[in-house]
Structure formats: structure tokens, C-alpha cells
């Protein structure tokens, strides 16, 4: 965007705000008043649905928000919603984009416009939550239009224009608005927004779908299978991109009239006489311009080129920008591995090749991966390299990673404490025995005092919030597991707190996979282990317990592989700690969040009353897989939990899949007292919201019955201990409270009936 301000007279009224990129995207969405948002939270884009939800609760718009089961599901929701003829928005990043990528060509191939915001973030693994462009490169050939915004103002502007561009006659393509995670998504800046929603509404206009799947008078088949004809469909798509190339500048001009902000496909900064230049995208553009100004003061003829549109790729504009430039350094915030440059480097080289007059030398640089800060000195270094090439006429270092550090080769990582031996973790405190006749398993020896002998497999010094319930809950499980354990953690707080490089809190072998796929990964580990034992590569008598840990969120997005592994009955223990939300990303609702609870995607407000659906009953879903053992547990009854874990170990070894669900405190997001985690969990158990039971070979047994013990409390006694649910006691929430109580009671009665009848 050039900062050149157009005639103020013509522009619509705007007001100054101090907002970050996510808030600006949400503001745009709210003003556009999309019909539907299908989404799944992922840092650093999560604040977009959060902000939209907050505005929804306040009654500022009518966007129908649908929390998906994962990004693949979110993309599916968006596809369906777009096919049903309305305006649709989504937001994601990093592996969220990758997980939805299979749907991207579906959306573009069926020519259904929508807008997807991407807050650029590095893709896993190793997991990294910060900015780079390794996510957006995967979308380059998805057939979507891709707009790039360098600051919150551009995020807002591009979001408004994206609607028009995607819906334009002859284009009809979905549009991505891509901006830097954290740097732009989280940085608050002075910006302008339109005062009047009507200005926005007038600009975007009415949406008239070409075809919809909800018009019985005009039946249509959308998504046929195509053989040789596919090439023609694809040619149409390619033509739509060419059409977009014509349409986009016109929409930029039209927008400039109402906003005073003129966008262009490509921005050439101080390029008129530049001999050396840098090409760079998004937020780094501003830093690079500052570097150019500083170097110009020293008399160096340098410039910088950036782009607001990378699909369609602005070939002509790029050729024009570089036509007199002797050397260009192309800085990519991703690598295409093995090509000697990032994606922009490849594409710009190709574009320049088509200009027979262009003689520019090209240097390729990879920078800022995983959020490594981009300082002005880095920009100057790249510009100086280009300048050297321009004067010497040759490129000394064609390809390099800027900012990577070699390390200290004399340093060898050492154990801070000796690793746990098999003897250490086999104190023989607990014994499990199976009655040869009845098959019943007896667990002996779980006494709290003696249990302190079991070394902790998770070391102190991890990064959980004070009073977090995850570690004590997992400890209670691990205390029941004698012998070596291999753990797999899904993404989530449990994972993040214990493995921040170069530190790891895991004293046993640990592996992470993204939380839509842990159970499948563990299945692979278990079966390979067994196969290698069968082949004699690993001693047959070496016994390892395979423990996989997920949060409730991981068992939303990862439910498919969990059920798959259960149905295949692998020898593993699957533990889900349920803190009733996606805590690692800042407390969005999960399917396990109960009705009426306030989360960052189920706000309470005049127009909304917390989460609108009842909590998921995961233990019963898993029981329906008819695996050998299902249990629930809670640290308030930690001995019971440890015994169940010991039993689980025997069953996993001898029979197969075990599923256990634990209720785990999150003082930060429950907004509850750090010291009272156990008390709150106890109240949840005593209210019969979270009954403690087990299902062994289909037979249900309640292991702690608060009613029988005379300890049952009303659910409100539990809810009033947490900030996230205090409102449930207010008269305004009577209906929600009643409905929740009724559901808790129904599920409890049903469970009791199951416990009484071995056939249920």
C-alpha cells in the first residue's frame, strides 16, 4: 500500500482505533456480517473467532459461529455453507491450514467464494507457534486467490476487498488473506476503520450465489466425478485467475475512493534508480523500507519490492519493478528444500526469465523461520549482499540461511540427573493379579505413603501454571505403572509445559505428534515394537507400557484415530485429561465443555449464554467400541485412579486397548483458586457430573457413589467455585442451569442402571 492519501473529500468517514491484526480481521468480518463462520482454534489466528464470538455475545452482528471438530471439519463446514449460498469466513494457521488443505481444492474447484484468514505460523514438527511462511506455501497451488497484508490496517482493508474479489464476475474463487502471525496478528497499531457499517455493506454489496444446493426448484449436482473433462474444469480455474488479475486492480481503485488507501499488486519502494534490491513479504516489508532509507542516507542505491497479491502471481508487475536492477536478494520466510531457494525465489526467477531484457543477478535467502526476529540489521545484511553482487557482477553466496547459528561445538548435552533405570521404576509397590477362574483382576498395595517411592517420570521445572491439575493427574496414573513406560503426548498444555527446547521434563522416552493423530502414531509404535520382538531384534521379555496422553481437545480433533486404534485393539493405554476446553490456545470451547460455560468462543453477554450444547460423553463413546477396559478417574480419588492405572497396565499388556478419562483442573482458565483444584474436582465428582466408574469387558461398575456415601452435592456447589461458571447461579441463567442439571441427572441414572444390569 502506498501511503499517498487521496482526496479526503470523497472518502467515507473513518475512526481511529488501536487494534491488532486479528481484531481488525474480526472487525471487518463483523461489519461484513458473514452468514457463517466455521472454524477451529489455532494460535496465532484464534483471536479472530474469539473476537467475533465476543461481538456476537454483545449483539453486534449475526454471524453464525460453528466450532468444528478440527480444521478439516471446519473447512468442510465452510464448503457446505458456501454451497448453501451465503457468505462464509474461516481463520487458521500453520498445521491448521495443512489439516484443511485437502478441502482447499474442493472449494476452489467448485468455484465457491469464501474468505480464509491465515495468521502465518511455522508448520510442525518440531512444533513452533511463531511466524514464518511455511504454512502459506502449501496453499500456493490450491487454486485460491492469496492476498498478503503487512500490518493490521491492511488486514482490515484486504478482508473487505477479499469479499469483492472472490465474488467478482468471472472470478468466483475463494480468497486467502495472509498476514504474519504475532507480528501482525498480535501487534496493536493505530489504524482506521469505517465508522458506519453501511459503508462496508455498500462496498461489499449483496451476495448472489451462482448456484446453491438448497433451491429445490433448481436442482443441481455439485461435485460430480470427472475423468478427461477435469482438464477443462481446471482450465476454467486458470482463466478465473487471469480474470482476477484484471479485477483486483479495479477493486483496489474502488476501495481507495472510499478509504483513501490505494493498494497495488506490487509495491516498489525507492526502486527508480536502485541497483540492488530486496524482495520480501508482509511485516518484514516495513523493516526493509527502514533499512533502505538508512542505506540511502549513506548513498547506497537500494530499494525494496513487496507484493499484496501472490495468487495470481503478479508477473508483469514484478518484471517492471526489477527491470533496471542489477542484483536482487529474494528473502523467503520458508524453504522449498532442495531447490536452492524459497517459493518466492523460484517464482521470481521464473518471472524474470520471461523478460529477455532482464539481466538481474539473484541471491536467495531464507530468514526468520520459526519466528526468529527480523532486525533491521538483517535487512541491511541482505541488501549489502545484493549490492556487492551488483558492483562485482557475480554472486558469491547464491543461497543461505540468515540468522541460523552454528552453536558451540564444545558443548555436549548431559543428563542433569541420571536417567531412570528399570529398577528405579519397578519398586513393586503395587501388584496386580488375575484370578485364574473368574478372570477378575485384584490390585494390591496402593497406599499413598508408599506410593511416594515411585520416582516421578515427569521432572520438576516444567512450565505449567501454578496449581495446574495435569501433572498430578498424570502422576496418579504413572504411579500405577511399574516398569518402563513410553509416553506419547498430543499437542496441548500437557505437551507444551514439558518439552520447550532444549529442555524436556520427561525422564522416560517421550514422543509428540499433532493432536489429530496421536493414537494412530502410538498404534504404529506398539506394532513395530511387537514386530521387532517377533523378529528377535528386541528381547521378547522386555516389557514396555505404552501410554498416550491427550487433552479433551485432542480427543475432539483426534477422535477418528482414537476410535480406529480402539477398534484395532492395540496394546496401549490411552489417557484423556479433560480440563473442559482448549487451554493451551487460551480456553476455547471443546465438545467436553458443559452447557452454559463461558469460554473464549462461547462468551456470555446480552445475546449469548455461554456454550449452547451439552458436554460430550467420551467414556461412553469409547465403551461403545467394546474395548477391554474403560475407566474414569480424578485426582481427588487418586488411589482409586492409581489402582485403575495398574489394572489398565495388565489389560493393555495382555488384552489390548484401554481408555481412561480424567477430570483435570485448570485454575488459569477456570478462573479458580490455584490451591483448590482438588476440592473443585471433588465437587464435580460429588455432583455426579463426573462419576467415577469402570467398564471391564462390558460390565459397568461405579467405583465411588456419592449418593450412597451421602456426599452428593447440587451441581451449583461445584459451578460457583469457578469464575467461568459463576453466572450459572444467576436468575438469567436459570434455564441453562436446569437443562444442565437435568442432563447430569439423566446420565447418572443411566449409568446406575448400567451398573445394576450386566447387559447394559
Amino acid at each position: 500500500m502506498t501511503t499517498e492519501t487521496l482526496d479526503k473529500q470523497q472518502t467515507a468517514e473513518q475512526k481511529t482505533v488501536v487494534l491488532n491484526g486479528n481484531e481488525m480481521a474480526a472487525t471487518a468480518a463483523s461489519q461484513i456480517n458473514y452468514h457463517v463462520m466455521g472454524y477451529f482454534p489455532i494460535t496465532p489466528s484464534t483471536a479472530i473467532p474469539e473476537e467475533i464470538d465476543l461481538k456476537k455475545a454483545a449483539g453486534e452482528h449475526q454471524i453464525h459461529m460453528i466450532a468444528a471438530d478440527g480444521e478439516h471439519g471446519a473447512a468442510g463446514i465452510c464448503f457446505g455453507a458456501a454451497a448453501a449460498g451465503g457468505r462464509v469466513i474461516n481463520a487458521t494457521a500453520s498445521n491448521g491450514l495443512l489439516y484443511s488443505i485437502e478441502q482447499l481444492p474442493v472449494q476452489s474447484g467448485t468455484r465457491l467464494p469464501m474468505v480464509l484468514n491465515i495468521a502465518n505460523r511455522a508448520v510442525s514438527g518440531p512444533l513452533n507457534i511463531k511466524c514464518d511462511h511455511s504454512d502459506i506455501v502449501y496453499a500456493l497451488s490450491a487454486g485460491w486467490i492469496i492476498l498478503m497484508g503487512k500490518d493490521p490496517q491492511e488486514v482490515y482493508d484486504l478482508n473487505l476487498m477479499a469479499v469483492r474479489i472472490g465474488e467478482a464476475e468471472g472470478v468466483r474463487l475463494p480468497v486467502i488473506v495472509s498476514f504474519d502471525g504475532f507480528v501482525t496478528s498480535h501487534q496493536k497499531r493505530r489504524s482506521l476503520i469505517f465508522n458506519d457499517v453501511k459503508t462496508v455493506q455498500d462496498f461489499v454489496g449483496e451476495f448472489t450465489p451462482k448456484i446453491t444446493v438448497v433451491d429445490p426448484a433448481n436442482p443441481v449436482t455439485l461435485g460430480p466425478y470427472m475423468n478427461d473433462d477435469l482438464i477443462n474444469n481446471r482450465k476454467q480455474q486458470s482463466m478465473a485467475m487471469d480474470r482476477a488479475r484484471e479485477v483486483i486492480p479495479k477493486i483496489f481503485d474502488e476501495y481507495a475512493k472510499i478509504s483513501g488507501r490505494q493498494f497495488s499488486m506490487v509495491q516498489a519502494y525507492r526502486m527508480e534508480d536502485a541497483e540492488a534490491a530486496l524482495f520480501i513479504l508482509n511485516s518484514s516489508t516495513s523493516t526493509a523500507r527502514e533499512a533502505v532509507d538508512a542505506m540511502r542516507k549513506e548513498g547506497k542505491k537500494v530499494g525494496v519490492v513487496s507484493a499484496s497479491v501472490i495468487r495470481p502471481f503478479p508477473i508483469k508487475e514484478i518484471q517492471e519493478a526489477f527491470k533496471n536492477c542489477k542484483a536482487i536478494c529474494i528473502a523467503d520466510r520458508q524453504d522449498t528444500y532442495g531447490t536452492g531457494g524459497g517459493a518466492m525465489s523460484m517464482e521470481i526467477k521464473a518471472a524474470l526469465k520471461e523478460d529477455p531484457d532482464n539481466k538481474s543477478l539473484v541471491l536467495s535467502r531464507i530468514y526468520g523461520l520459526g519466528g526468529l526476529e527480523f532486525y533491521i540489521e538483517d535487512a541491511m545484511e541482505m541488501l549489502n549482499d545484493a549490492l556487492d553482487a551488483s558492483t562485482s557482477g557475480k554472486v558469491n553466496v547464491p543461497f543461505e540461511y540468515v540468522g541460523a547459528y552454528e552453536g558451540d561445538e564444545s558443548y555436549v548435552p548431559e543428563f542433569a540427573e541420571p536417567p531412570l533405570t528399570v529398577e528405579d521404576v519397578t519398586p513393586n509397590i503395587i501388584t496386580t493379579e488375575r484370578d485364574p477362574e473368574t478372570g477378575e483382576i485384584k490390585v494390591k498395595g496402593a497406599i499413598t505413603r508408599e506410593l511416594t517411592r515411585m520416582p516421578k517420570r515427569i521432572a520438576p521445572g516444567h512450565g505449567a501454571c501454578p496449581g495446574c491439575g495435569i501433572v498430578p493427574s498424570i502422576n496418579a496414573v504413572m504411579r500405577g505403572l511399574e516398569g518402563p513406560v513410553v509416553v506419547l503426548f498430543h499437542t496441548g498444555c500437557g505437551m507444551i509445559i514439558g518439552s520447550g527446547y532444549p529442555f524436556s521434563a520427561h525422564r522416560t522416552t517421550y514422543i509428540h505428534n499433532l493432536f489429530q493423530n496421536g493414537a494412530a502414531t502410538m498404534a504404529g509404535i506398539v506394532e513395530m515394537y511387537k514386530e521387532r520382538q517377533r523378529r528377535g531384534e528386541i528381547p521378547r521379555d522386555q516389557d514396555i507400557t505404552f501410554l498416550m496422553v491427550t487433552g479433551d481437545g485432542g480427543n475432539d480433533i483426534g477422535m477418528g484415530p482414537t476410535i480406529g486404534s480402539a477398534l484395532r485393539n492395540h496394546n496401549m493405554i490411552f489417557i484423556e485429561y479433560d480440563n473442559e476446553g482448549y487451554m493451551n490456545t487460551g480456553h476455547q470451547l471443546s465438545f467436553s465443555t458443559p452447557l452454559g460455560h463461558a469460554t473464549s468462543t462461547s462468551h456470555i453477554g446480552p445475546a449469548q449464554k455461554g456454550k449452547s450444547t451439552q458436554h460430550k460423553d467420551t467414556a461412553q463413546i469409547m465403551a461403545a467400541c467394546h474395548i477391554p477396559y474403560v475407566f474414569t478417574g480424578a485426582e481427588c480419588n487418586h488411589v482409586d485412579l492409581t489402582k485403575k492405572a495398574a489394572k489398565a497396565q495388565l489389560i493393555a499388556r495382555e488384552e489390548g486397548f484401554v481408555y481412561g478419562k480424567l477430570l483435570s483442573a485448570c485454575p488459569l482458565n477456570w478462573r479458580s483458586n490455584e490451591s483448590k483444584g482438588r476440592e473443585i474436582i471433588q465437587a464435580a465428582v460429588d455432583s455426579c457430573f463426573f462419576p467415577l466408574y469402570e467398564i471391564e469387558h462390558g460390565i459397568t461398575k461405579i467405583t465411588y457413589d456419592p449418593e450412597a456415601k451421602g456426599k452428593r452435592v447440587p451441581v451449583l456447589d461445584w459451578l460457583k467455585q469457578m469464575g467461568k461458571t459463576k453466572h450459572m447461579g444467576k436468575p438469567d441463567y436459570e434455564a441453562e442451569l436446569k437443562s444442565f442439571e437435568k442432563e447430569v441427572e439423566r446420565r447418572w441414572r443411566r449409568l446406575k442402571a448400567m451398573a445394576e444390569n450386566p447387559l447394559l
Binding site: P44, K188, S286, E406, T448, P472, S504, A505, H506, S675
Partner: protein
């Protein structure tokens, strides 16, 4: 176009006035940064940006908040963290052992510290270079009395120290921010803010060269591309024990009374940070048993879960 009347008396080569706040997650430095940026932009008419050091860190870990101001017509183009602040604000000195707080602080810089110590003592404790100006304020004391978080009190000291930042601008911004969501918090916060302004103690540090300027080091990890195990593997797991987490405590720690303890182990079962250390020993009858040995304060985060579960009051919460 150049503005005729400049608001900022001091700026760096890029035309910006730079502020860095050092704090622990939960102390409200992010909100303080946001309020300050908004006051500068909306009330004083400056251009400004505000952002924080982001990561997956949970509550109780160090966080930085950054603010950059420029004259209204000047674009702010740098997005990188503030390495040479004009104003450094330290929410807690406890993190000094984990964070190089004084990075980039040069003569002419102002440093605001939340402390009960005198400015002279703070200077020696943190090794603040000469030629700077220190403001100390007992923000914790004021915050406890006024029942608010320390951030608004600290903003009072900021209004006092920073010439272009007015009391009225910050007060107005706080009113706007709190009235919407927490109307009850408005007055106590304004009161704490005013007390922070008035009670801050100023000290011009002599330019004596007593402590050197600590320069920004950049990213230079011991494990780099030449020697890090491939695939991101950590080959010495369990090394989080090297971390000192005592700064995560917010004022209280558990204290053990041996007399009352029955060695039941309940505290160990609830501690999220494995800080309750038991040992194997013989009881009166010569039988090997488990005994409470000590609390590991290096890793204790002061959640007081252990105090809550102890059946014999053998653990009590005590102010640090």
C-alpha cells in the same frame, strides 16, 4: 510533511521513543502496555504500537511488553523487540536471575522499578549503569491496599517519569477501558494510579561508570546447526530440573512443620511440581518406611495445593 510542534523530546535514529516492560505473566504488563499505547495514540495524538514477547509460556513465566511511540505523522516501521529502551519498567526484580533485565539500558535512560527498596539499593542490586534516572515505587504495597493489580500503580509512575505522557491521558484511557467491563474497578485503579504517580521516588544516578552497559546479545544458542542432534531430539531429557522457578510464586510459599506431619503422602500426590521430597528411612520399630524430607523451593510455584490437602495442618502458607 514534518509536524511543527514535536511532542516527543527524545527519539532514536528511527524517530521512535521506546519502552520495554519486564514482568511475570499475570502481573498485567500486557494491559499496562495496551493502556499506555492507547493513551499516547488516542489522547496525546501520537502514533504508536504495542506488542509483547509471545510464546506458549504459561502463567508465572517472564513476559515482556513493548511500546513504541512516534510523532503523529511518522510511520513506525520496525516490528522487532525493543532492545535499547528509553524507558525500562521492571514489574518485579525477582526475575533478575532468569532475565537479563538491563539489556540496552544506557545513560539517559529511565528505569522504573516496583520495589520496597531505595533507588540506591535497587541500582546496586540490578547493576544499573550511571547517567540514568531511577524511579522506585512500592506498587505491590499500594496494590494490596487498594485491592488492584500492580499494573495501574506502575502506570502512575510512568506518567510521572515520562514528560509527554500526561496523568489525564492515562486516567481517561483507564476509565474508558475499565468502565465497559469492570465498572467497579475504575475508582480503586485510578486511586492506585494516582498514588503511584505521587509516591514514586526519583533518583538521578551519577554518571560514575560503576556498572557497564549490557549490550544486546542476539540469538546464540549452545546447540546450533553444527552440533544439535538432528530431528530436534533432546538427548538429555529431564533437564528441566535445571530451571529455577521460584520467581513464579506470587508472595506465598508452603512451610512444613515436622512435629505435626504424619508422613501420609497426600501433599506429594497433589503437588504439580514434584516439590515434596520423601526419603526412605527406618521407623521406631526399625521398619523401612517413607518419610517427608523437605520441600524443593527451587521448583515450588507456591500454588499451595499441598497446604490445602494436608490433613494435619503440617503445611502452612507463609509470606515470603
Amino acid at each position: 510533511m514534518e509536524t511543527e510542534t514535536k511532542v516527543l523530546s527524545k527519539t532514536n535514529e528511527f524517530g521512535t521513543y521506546e519502552i520495554r516492560m519486564e514482568s511475570i505473566g499475570g502481573q498485567g504488563a500486557n494491559l499496562a502496555g495496551k493502556l499506555l499505547a492507547e493513551a499516547g495514540i488516542m489522547e496525546i495524538g501520537l502514533n504508536g504500537v504495542n506488542f509483547a514477547s509471545y510464546g506458549s509460556e504459561k502463567k508465572g513465566t517472564p513476559v515482556k511488553s513493548f511500546i513504541r511511540f512516534a510523532e503523529s505523522d511518522k510511520e513506525i516501521r520496525l516490528n522487532s523487540p525493543v532492545v535499547e529502551p528509553h524507558l525500562l519498567v521492571i514489574f518485579t526484580t525477582v526475575i533478575a536471575k532468569n532475565v537479563p533485565l538491563l539489556t540496552g539500558v544506557k545513560p539517559g535512560c529511565m528505569v522504573i522499578v516496583n520495589t520496597t527498596e531505595t533507588p540506591e539499593a535497587v541500582r546496586d542490586m540490578l547493576k544499573i549503569p550511571g547517567g540514568t534516572t531511577i524511579y522506585t515505587v512500592d506498587a505491590m504495597g499500594i496494590a494490596v491496599q487498594e485491592r488492584v493489580r500492580i499494573n495501574t500503580t506502575i502506570l502512575g509512575a510512568v506518567a510521572r517519569a515520562v514528560d509527554f505522557m500526561t496523568r489525564a491521558a492515562l486516567e481517561e484511557t483507564m476509565r474508558k477501558t475499565f468502565t465497559k467491563k469492570y465498572p467497579k474497578l475504575v475508582e480503586p485503579n485510578i486511586k492506585a494510579f494516582n498514588r503511584g504517580y505521587e509516591e514514586a521516588v526519583k533518583y538521578d544516578v551519577p554518571d560514575d561508570g560503576k556498572y557497564p552497559v549490557q549490550h544486546f546479545q542476539g540469538f546464540k544458542p549452545k546447540l546450533g546447526w553444527k552440533n544439535a542432534p538432528i530431528g530436534g531430539a533432546i538427548v538429555n531429557p529431564g533437564n528441566t530440573v535445571l530451571n529455577d522457578l521460584s520467581a513464579s510464586r506470587s508472595g506465598f510459599k508452603p512451610v512444613w512443620n515436622e512435629e505435626l506431619c504424619i508422613n501420609c503422602g497426600a501433599c506429594d500426590s497433589t503437588c504439580p511440581d514434584q516439590c515434596i521430597i520423601f526419603r526412605r528411612d527406618k521407623d521406631d520399630k526399625g521398619k523401612e518406611r517413607q518419610f517427608f524430607d523437605h520441600i524443593d523451593y527451587k521448583h515450588c510455584k507456591g500454588c499451595l495445593r499441598c497446604v490445602e490437602v494436608c490433613p494435619k495442618d503440617a503445611l502452612t502458607a507463609e509470606r515470603e
